[in-house]
């Protein structure tokens, strides 16, 4: 990923190499993508038949990049007679301005060519290349090249237009140009990606925000969002940098759903530029204290798309909240189940948790009243379909073994849930954090029932059930000889005994018995789990541990932000502060942008956090991580109509000041300062 350059606006994005070129790729999604379809799979620039190389790349903004290029191999460029500036932006569609500069004292003639191809691959076809079922037709017009893909009524088009005259053929455009001495030539290439919908119109033309915006409009809109967020003043540059970067990336990840017509936050570049239940809920929880207005569209869409029938292909059941919604061909023709897919056992309790947390911050009781039936249906799912074996726990087992997910918790890769000896349990499985979320969901729903639905009896019932769950959980999941909670129960009710970061989520949910909290914290910050940069997904001495295994040894920033929240909840402020500090220290190595995951190597082994090879970046819940860490350090907790501010800033971090925190109180300021006055010359 490091050698690739990405730009994005919402869920339209382009990934190219350092020269700005795109060549067909079947392992990593390079190309121009919009709504899960690849609209450009080839985009290669040559000057007089020669490829170019990059002198420098300016990628300081999320939606535009400028490449400075010269012909030939790097050793030749000093006597280059010409150079090329390639300036591109995602502005709903994709625009690229090509400028050729003549460095000679004489007129030159040259041939510039852009090679163009569109394979219209669905994102799910990138990894498993296959023959397209539909047909592509190519039309060469005056100043335009049009590639259209049709399969039954499914219809996508890529239209490339040029402002300068060109010789156009089916695979590209050629410009024969003459440039005066020390002069320049340029053309503007415009690529529209058209998604056909009702009455054969581009579906985005009928959306409230429309498909295309100018670069200025994007900048203004992103700036407006950033301006609305609380202002951070602090002595700690990594914190300031990560906060700035997070706000920028959140602005960039917002997109307008073609199926839904509302603005949602995409989960992550490049694989996850769509709506996920779990990711969008966690991201919403992280950003709520800062940008609460980003949250209601997500809640509404998850509620609107709540499962209503038993559908094995989609792992859908009544009351269940979705896992993933996709917009592409494989979802439409039911070759993949994402229309939407419901294969997650945590999104349903997390949905209830988010709605309650949202009301606590904003006082938006109207939304809580409006969604009463959805929340009741979600609670019912927890006690019925969610409790697959009827043992009082949340279990999962896919009914779609071909294209469904085996693991339906946040660690959803196939090998993520294992015994300490590395063996994999059978199905169904009940992972521990699911039970924690269910506990918290019931406690929070009880508050909603009492306060907004006028149903104190239901509230009492929920609280009784939660208390009972907490007791049973401690009995069935605690492993006395290992002194931690089991990762899961297997189908026989046996404990899956690996030590994992999941126990940190238990602190966040409040299901941990107070007498056990100390041991849980010892494990989280002990050498088996804590790498020095953060808490590993799996302890370093477990059978399946691999420091670069996706869910079996890497460190996930979002995971750590939830763990820090949990440590704070149980009063372990110093330990929470340590995680905040090490995460922010890690973010410096990624330009303030925490990736999806980084390697679990011990900090003293590598001295810097090693990026996981195919980590997604930016990724929404990593982007939200610095925000949640700030909340944890400042101890921000709504209570009634007020915001409690109880800072515990890690030593050495100095002053942390957050101004204009929005909520039901209007806006308030929070000020924290680390307790050691000697940490900075002059008293900091």
């Amino acid at each position: 990923m490091r050698d690739l350059v990405s730009i994005l606006d919402g869920n339209t994005f382009l990934v190219s190499d350092r020269r700005g070129d795109i060549e067909p790729s079947y392992d990593f999604p390079t190309g121009l993508f919009s709504f899960d379809t690849r609209f450009l799979s080839t985009w290669v620039l040559t000057l007089d038949g020669e490829r170019l190389h990059a002198l420098s790349v300016d990628d300081s903004e999320s939606y535009r990049t400028t490449f400075f290029l010269a012909p030939g191999e790097p050793t030749h460029y000093l006597d280059a007679k010409a150079s090329v500036i390639r300036s591109r932006a995602i502005v709903g569609s994709f625009e690229e301005e090509l400028t050729v500069l003549n460095h000679l004292g004489a007129e030159v003639e040259c041939t510039l060519r852009i090679e163009v191809g569109a394979d219209f691959a669905d994102l799910f076809e990138i990894k498993n290349a296959r023959q397209k079922r539909g047909r592509t037709t190519i039309t060469v017009g005056e100043n335009e090249l049009r590639l259209a893909y049709r399969r039954e009524e499914f219809h996508r088009e890529m239209v490339l237009r040029t402002t300068a005259p060109a010789r156009i053929d089916e695979t590209g455009m050629t410009f024969r140009i003459r440039i005066a001495r020390n002069g320049r030539w340029s053309t503007r290439l415009h690529v529209s990606s058209v998604v056909f919908g009702a009455r054969s119109q581009d579906i985005r033309a009928t959306l409230p925000y429309g498909g295309s915006r100018s670069a200025d409009a994007i900048r203004a809109e992103q700036q407006e969002l950033i301006d609305r967020a609380p202002k951070l003043g602090c002595d700690c540059e990594p914190l300031a940098g990560a906060y700035r970067r997070s706000l920028n990336d959140l602005a960039a990840l917002r997109y307008e759903s073609i199926a839904l017509g509302v603005r949602l936050i995409a989960a992550g570049l490049p694989w996850f530029m769509t709506l996920f239940g779990r990711d969008s809920i966690i991201t919403s929880l992280q950003v709520l204290p800062f940008l609460p207005e980003l949250v209601p569209p997500t809640i509404l869409m998850l509620a609107g798309l709540q499962g209503h029938r038993v559908d094995d292909f989609r792992d859908e059941e009544p009351g269940k909240i979705l896992h993933e919604l996709r917009y592409g061909e494989t979802a439409g023709f039911e070759e993949q189940p994402h229309s939407p897919y419901y294969g997650s056992a945590d999104s349903t309790p997390l949905f209830i948790i988010l709605l309650d947390e949202y009301e606590l911050w904003t006082g938006d009781s109207a939304l809580v009243r409006k969604l009463e039936s959805q929340v009741r249906a979600a609670l019912k799912w927890i006690d019925t379909y969610g409790d697959l074996l009827g043992t009082g726990y949340l279990w999962y087992q896919t009914r779609n073994p071909e294209t469904g997910l085996q693991n339906q918790c946040w660690k959803d890769s196939w090998d993520a849930i294992s015994y300490a000896d590395g063996q994999l349990p059978g199905f169904p499985r009940a992972t521990c954090e699911l039970q924690g979320y269910a506990y918290d969901a019931k406690i929070r729903a009880a508050r909603l029932a009492r306060k907004f639905w006028n149903d104190p009896e239901f509230a009492d019932t929920l609280e009784r059930e939660a208390a009972d769950l907490k007791q049973r959980f401690d009995r069935d999941f605690w492993i006395p000889e290992r002194e931690h909670y089991a990762l899961a129960l297997d189908a026989d009710g046996r404990q899956v005994d690996a030590l994992t970061s999941n126990i940190g989520h238990l602190l966040w949910s409040g299901i941990v018995d107070e007498s056990r909290a100390g041991k849980v914290v010892e494990h989280l910050l002990g050498p088996r789990l804590f790498s020095g940069w953060g808490v590993r997904t799996l302890a370093a001495d477990e059978g399946r541990y691999n420091p670069i295994g996706y869910h079996v040894g890497t460190v996930w920033p979002f995971d750590n932000s939830i763990i820090a929240w949990g440590l704070w909840r149980y009063g372990f402020r110093d330990e929470a502060g340590l995680i905040c500090e090490t995460m922010l220290a890690a973010s410096r190595y990624f330009g303030g942008r925490l990736p999806e995951a980084f390697a679990g190597y011990a900090r003293d082994l590598t001295n810097y956090p090693v990026e996981y090879p195919t980590a997604c970046s930016p990724q929404a819940w990593s982007t939200g991580t610095p925000l949640l860490l700030l909340r944890v350090m400042l101890g921000l907790e709504p209570q009634g109509e007020h915001l409690i501010i109880d800072p515990a800033v890690p030593s050495g971090m100095g002053r942390v000041e957050l101004l204009d925190i929005p909520g039901r109180w209007g806006t308030v300021d929070a000020l924290g300062r680390s307790r050691d006055p000697e940490e900075r010359p002059g008293g900091g």
Partner: protein, 126 residues
């Protein structure tokens, strides 16, 4: 208009209290087409209730389906959102109304309760 579709619309008011929650608030026009003509249904949804008539808008959203696809939706064989994604069916306007209406569509034929299957299998393992 098939008989199955007519029966489906007739049954909506009695099913609405159980099916339509707080998000269902507005009018959806449903256009069902075949080779010869398009039939219009107007579905006025409120939380817990619905009124159905055979006429055109004004509506907050319009949803188009072929009569044949609609028959497959009301028997549970087809799924509404996938049909929209492959453009076999289209809508414009407030999507929440379409999402609320799709809740009237039944399970795919032959679906079994996943709990029975899982509990039987787990019982065998013990």
């Amino acid at each position: 208009m098939t008989e199955a579709a007519e029966r489906f619309f007739e049954a909506l008011p009695s099913r609405a209290p159980e099916i339509l929650g707080g998000l269902a608030d507005g009018t959806l026009q449903i256009d069902l087409g075949d080779n010869h003509r398009t039939e219009h249904w107007l579905v006025r949804m409120r939380p817990g209730s619905v009124r159905v008539s055979r006429e055109r808008g004004p509506a907050d959203a319009i949803w188009y389906s072929s009569a044949a696809l609609f028959d497959r939706l009301i028997s549970g064989e087809a799924q509404g959102i996938a049909a929209v994604l492959r453009n076999e069916s289209t809508f414009s306007g407030n999507v929440v109304l379409f999402l609320a209406f799709r809740r009237f569509f039944p399970d795919p034929p032959g679906t079994r309760d996943p709990r029975e299957t899982a509990r039987r299998a787990a019982g065998r393992q013990r």
